[in-house]
Amino acid sequence: MEKAMVEVQHVTMDFRRDCNRTTHLKEFAVNLLTGRHHIEKFRALDDVTLTVPQGCVMGLIGPNGAGKSTLLKVISGIYRPSGGQALVHGSLVPMLELGSGFDADLTGRENILLNGAILGYSKAFLLPKVEQIIDYSELRDFIDMPLKTYSSGMLARLAFSIASVVEPDVLIVDEILSVGDEHFQRKSRARMLELMKGSSRAVIFVSHNLQQLREMCDRVIWLDHGRIRMQGAAGEVCDAYEREAAAT
């Protein structure tokens, strides 16, 4: 096996479910005085350990609420785990909801710089790539107009184009994206596959499409109630998951 790109070691994630969640100083003061502050913990990930080596496409499967998105957020560094640690070696691009950093008042071109900076690209890396991003998005005619004049399909195109110019070491995908019109959907899907196939990178992606998982993944992890239920070769895990789904 080649070197590990992502190492998740005994990660536990507890969410606080405050029964009377205080978002106001006034309530907080009242609760403090009346001693009515009750916190309930909810364990969304329980002792999860996994390794994704270089060149591996790792699928993540499990019912809703299993903790898949939470795991991706821990790996991306958005959540700090309550226990254990998640190590990522190299650059990471999370393809979670794209374009969340857009500013409607800025032009498309300005948003490319802003969004690229948010994703952690350096100036030296991004500036030479701007024209390539514009070409890829096929939005050159609109690129100097404010984003509030864009349709949602155009926004999605721009977002995908910014996120996909990079060649990250680790790619995190929560459900394969299909954005824009049919033509752009096909194009972005092809680019996604191209990115995922790169032999120097590690990919973790969540999907409910077993067909897709079998085709694309080397390994699959089945997550259930925050625990790893099973992990192994894609076919094996998908078969087991399918059998259980059929039984219930």
Binding site: L25, G77, L96, S100, D105, L106, A117, I118, L119
Partner: protein, 256 residues
């Protein structure tokens, strides 16, 4: 975790400052002119109201007013804008990991640029009122920087509080109003009863504004005592703000 190292995010900081600056100045018709007019108009009103009371005690009263107004509203802007920075970026913070201090910091830097712009009307008022231009004016950046550090510290503290308790902004709007009156901006500290003056001198904004006035009005380098007080006024709140922000920032995401 390298994603959280703010020193790798200079480019993001630059983009955010540019964005803040654009939204501030591109959208209003008067644009940058407004940032000149705003302190001048405030000064004009205060001059009309208070000059009968205090003009005899204070030479170059318009410049006296303007230094106080400019520094105080700079601090107020840092806190008011910075306080909202994390909450306003909530949707983004839930999706991409980054050092969260870039948000309040970028807003304070935007306000600092605004402070730089408001030195132009200050210069104008100095010329018109015949305040001598001295080499001491070269120390204005030091005064600005010290005030910036204090304001950034306050901004980080209030920003943290605002993530956990959304009514912080109401608290701040009351507090900042009281603070304006408790700071000798349009009056000299000598009108405060002698017994109370030591308390008023503990106000960091009083120290910083007096520092600025020594430079601008008296044309002098502030005394060692003034430097000491202002360094404390800048360093302690900044250290506290950075400490509290860093301690709690991992939990922000659960409150957005």
């Amino acid at each position: 975790m390298h994603k959280k190292n703010i020193f790798r995010y200079g480019f993001l900081l630059e983009q955010l400052v540019k964005r803040n600056f654009n939204t501030k100045y591109r959208q209003s018709v008067l644009g940058i002119l407004w940032s000149f007019l705003n302190p001048l108009l405030t000064m004009a009103v205060q001059y009309l109201v208070f000059s009968a009371l205090f003009r005899s005690d204070i030479s170059h009263f318009p410049v006296y007013l303007l230094t106080g107004i400019i520094l105080f509203s700079f601090m107020n802007e840092c806190v008011t804008l910075g306080m909202d920075a994390i909450v306003a970026s909530g949707p983004l913070i839930k999706k991409v990991a980054m050092p969260m201090a870039v948000y309040p910091l970028s807003r304070c830097i935007t306000a600092l640029i605004g402070l730089g712009l408001s030195l132009i009307p200050l210069g104008g008022a100095m010329l018109l009122s015949g305040t001598p231009l001295t080499p001491a004016l070269l120390l204005i950046p030091a005064a600005a920087l010290l005030t910036f550090c204090f304001a950034l510290g306050m901004s980080l503290l209030m920003c943290t509080l605002n993530v956990f308790f959304r009514d912080t902004r109401f608290l701040w709007s009351v507090a900042s109003l009281l603070w304006t009156y408790a700071t000798p901006i349009f009056y000299p500290i000598t009108i405060i009863p002698a017994a109370w003056q030591p308390v008023f001198r503990l106000n960091p904004m009083y120290q910083l504004i007096t520092f600025m006035r020594t430079i601008v009005l008296e044309g002098l380098c502030p005394s060692a005592g003034q430097w000491g007080m202002c360094l404390l006024a800048a360093a302690l709140p900044l250290a506290l703000g950075v400490f509290v922000f860093r301690k709690t920032q991992d939990r922000f995401v659960f409150h957005l």
